[in-house]
C-alpha cells in the first residue's frame, strides 16, 4: 500500500471544476513533484490532501488511514504530515513571537514544560539554519527566506513523516530559493522525510523530485519518473513548461 494515496479527487466550486479526477500516490521516502501553471489546481490538491478542504468527491488515505476535515482521529493523524505554504509573509501570525510560533504544535500535541519547549525550539531553529536570537522576535523582523525557514521549523516540530510543500520557494528570489531547496534536501536526508513538492519551476522539481506529475486545468496531463518527463516529455504542455523556465544551475 502506498504511503499517501489520493484517488479520484474532484473539487467543484459551483460551476467551476477546479480539480478534476486527480489520483496520485507517494511511496515512503520519495519526492513527488507536482508542476503546473498558476490556477491549474495544484494548491487545491494540496489542501485536500491536508484535510483543510473537503473534496467534492474522492478520497485521501495516509498510511492506510482516511484523511477528513474534522474528526477526533484526524488530530493525531495531523501530527504525521505538515504543510509549508507558499507565502512566507502570510503563513506566520504577525502577532506571535517566533518562539510561540514554533512551539505551537508542541503546545497543541505534547504536554511539555516551558523549558523543554524552548529547548526544542532552539534545536529546530538550528536545524533550519537560524540562531537563538530569532526566538524573541516577531515575523516582520525577518526577510522572506528567513521566514520560510521559520515555516519549515514549525512544520518539523512534530517530527512529521510527510511534508506538503506548496510552492515553498516561488515567493522568494532565485538565490534565496536555491538555499531553501538545498535546506529541504538536507532535511529530507536527516529526518527521512517524504515530500510532495508543488512548484511551477521545472528546474527545482527536476532537482528535488524522483517522480513528476504535470497538471493543467485541474487534470493530470502527464506523470512519470523525473528523468523521463524532463528529457522526453510526451505532451506539448510539459514541453512548454520546460521551455518557459530558464535553466538554473543548482547543487
Amino acid at each position: 500500500m502506498p504511503f499517501l494515496e489520493a484517488s479520484h479527487l474532484t473539487k467543484r466550486y459551483g460551476e467551476a471544476t477546479v480539480v478534476d479526477d486527480v489520483s496520485l500516490s507517494i511511496e515512503r521516502g520519495e519526492t513527488l513533484g507536482l508542476v503546473g501553471e498558476s490556477g491549474s489546481g495544484k494548491s487545491t490538491v494540496a489542501r485536500m490532501i491536508l484535510g483543510l478542504i473537503e473534496p467534492t468527491s474522492g478520497t485521501v488515505h495516509f498510511d492506510g488511514h482516511p484523511v477528513t476535515t474534522r474528526s477526533r482521529k484526524m488530530r493525531t493523524l495531523r501530527r504525521r504530515f505538515q504543510p509549508v505554504f507558499q507565502d512566507p509573509y502570510a503563513a506566520l501570525n504577525p502577532r506571535m513571537r517566533v518562539a510561540e510560533i514554533i512551539a505551537e504544535p508542541l503546545v497543541i500535541h505534547e504536554r511539555l514544560s516551558r523549558a523543554e519547549h524552548l529547548c526544542r525550539c532552539t534545536e529546530l531553529l538550528h536545524a533550519v539554519g537560524l540562531d537563538d536570537s530569532a526566538l524573541a522576535r516577531y515575523p516582520h523582523e525577518f526577510s522572506g527566506g528567513q521566514r520560510q525557514r521559520i515555516n519549515i521549523a514549525r512544520a518539523l516540530a512534530l517530527r512529521p513523516e510527510l511534508l506538503i510543500l506548496d510552492e515553498p520557494i516561488s515567493a522568494l528570489d532565485v538565490s534565496v530559493g536555491a538555499q531553501i531547496v538545498n535546506l529541504l534536501r538536507d532535511l529530507q536526508r536527516d529526518f527521512r522525510l517524504t515530500y510532495l513538492f508543488i512548484s511551477h519551476s521545472m528546474p527545482m522539481v527536476r532537482y528535488l523530485a524522483n517522480r513528476v506529475a504535470v497538471m493543467q486545468h485541474g487534470r493530470f496531463v502527464e506523470s512519470g519518473p523525473c528523468e523521463q518527463i524532463c528529457n522526453h516529455p510526451r505532451q506539448d504542455y510539459t514541453r512548454n513548461l520546460l521551455a518557459a523556465t530558464p535553466e538554473l544551475r543548482t547543487g
Partner: protein, 263 residues
C-alpha cells in the same frame, strides 16, 4: 487629554468635588456662578460643579459597562457567525442582527427600561441590547477576512482546535478596529445614558446624572440658564473627547498614518 480629566473626576469624585452633591441648601437656590459655587446651584441649592463631577461617575460607569457587555455579546455572536458561516451565519446575521438593526436602539432601550423599571442595571442592559449588533457586524466581517489567512490554515493543519484558532490567531489580528469602535461607542453610550436619564428612565434621584440634571433644570431654562448650560457642556465635552480618542486610536493603530499623529 479631556478623557483623562473625566476619568480622574469620576474616580476621585469625593476628593475633587467641593461640596456633597446631595447637600440641599434651600437658602442658596438657583444661585448663579460665584466664587463659592463655580457653576452655581440648582433649584434645591445643590452645588452644580459637584453634581457634574459625581455625574461623570454614573456616565462613565454606564458607558464602560455598556461597551464591555456589547463588545462581549458582539464578539460571541459575530465570532460564531463569521467563523462557522453556513446556517449559523444565516441565522445570526440575517435574522438576529438585521432584526435588531431595524429597530432604533434608543427606542428599544426606552421600551426595555419602561418595562423593567429604571435602575442602573436595567439601564446598562437596555443600552447593551441595542448596542451589541454594531459590534457583532464588525466582528463578523473581520473574522470572515481573517479566517482565510494562511497562518490560520497552518494552525488548522497543526491540529489546533477552533477555540485556540479564534483566541490565538484571529482575535489578536482583528482587535484594532474593535478598540476604535469601542472608544467611539463610549461616546454613544454616554449620550444614550443622558437621554434616558433626561426622560426619567435612568438612575433614580437623588443620584446625580447629567441627563437628570438637565431634566430638573428644564423648568428654569430662562430664569437660571446656568443650571442647563453646565451639565450640557459636560455631556458635549465627554462625547467629543471619546470621539477624538476613537479618531486618534484609529490613526495611531493604522501604520500608514502613525507617523503623522501625536496621541
Amino acid at each position: 487629554m479631556l478623557v483623562v480629566l473625566f476619568v480622574v473626576c469620576a474616580v476621585f469624585a469625593p476628593w475633587v468635588a467641593p461640596y456633597n452633591p446631595d447637600h440641599i441648601h434651600l437658602l442658596d437656590r438657583l444661585a448663579g456662578p460665584s466664587p463659592q459655587h463655580w457653576f452655581g446651584t440648582d433649584e434645591l441649592g445643590r452645588d452644580i460643579l459637584s453634581r457634574i463631577i459625581y455625574g461623570s461617575r454614573i456616565s462613565l460607569e454606564v458607558a464602560t459597562s455598556v461597551v464591555t457587555l456589547s463588545l462581549f455579546l458582539g464578539l460571541i455572536f459575530g465570532g460564531i457567525a463569521g467563523f462557522y458561516g453556513g446556517i449559523l451565519d444565516t441565522a445570526i446575521n440575517m435574522f438576529a442582527m438585521n432584526a435588531f438593526m431595524a429597530m432604533p436602539g434608543i427606542l428599544l432601550a426606552i421600551a426595555f427600561v419602561a418595562f423593567l423599571g429604571p435602575g442602573l442595571l436595567n439601564l446598562i442592559l437596555a443600552l447593551s441590547i441595542g448596542g451589541w449588533v454594531g459590534y457583532a457586524r464588525l466582528v463578523r466581517a473581520q473574522v470572515l477576512a481573517a479566517r482565510e489567512k494562511e497562518f490560520v490554515e497552518a494552525a488548522r493543519a497543526l491540529g489546533a482546535g477552533d477555540l485556540r484558532i479564534f483566541l490565538r490567531h484571529i482575535l489578536p489580528n482583528i482587535i484594532q478596529p474593535l478598540v476604535v469602535q469601542a472608544a467611539i461607542g463610549m461616546a454613544g453610550a454616554v449620550l444614550a445614558e443622558a437621554t434616558l436619564s433626561f426622560l426619567g428612565l435612568g438612575v433614580p434621584p437623588p443620584t446625580p446624572s447629567w441627563g437628570s440634571m438637565l431634566n430638573d433644570a428644564r423648568a428654569h431654562l430662562f430664569d437660571a440658564p446656568h443650571t442647563v448650560v453646565f451639565p450640557a457642556i459636560a455631556v458635549m465635552c465627554c462625547v467629543l473627547s471619546f470621539n477624538f480618542l476613537g479618531d486618534a486610536l484609529r490613526d495611531y493603530l493604522d501604520p500608514r498614518t502613525r507617523l503623522t499623529v501625536g496621541l
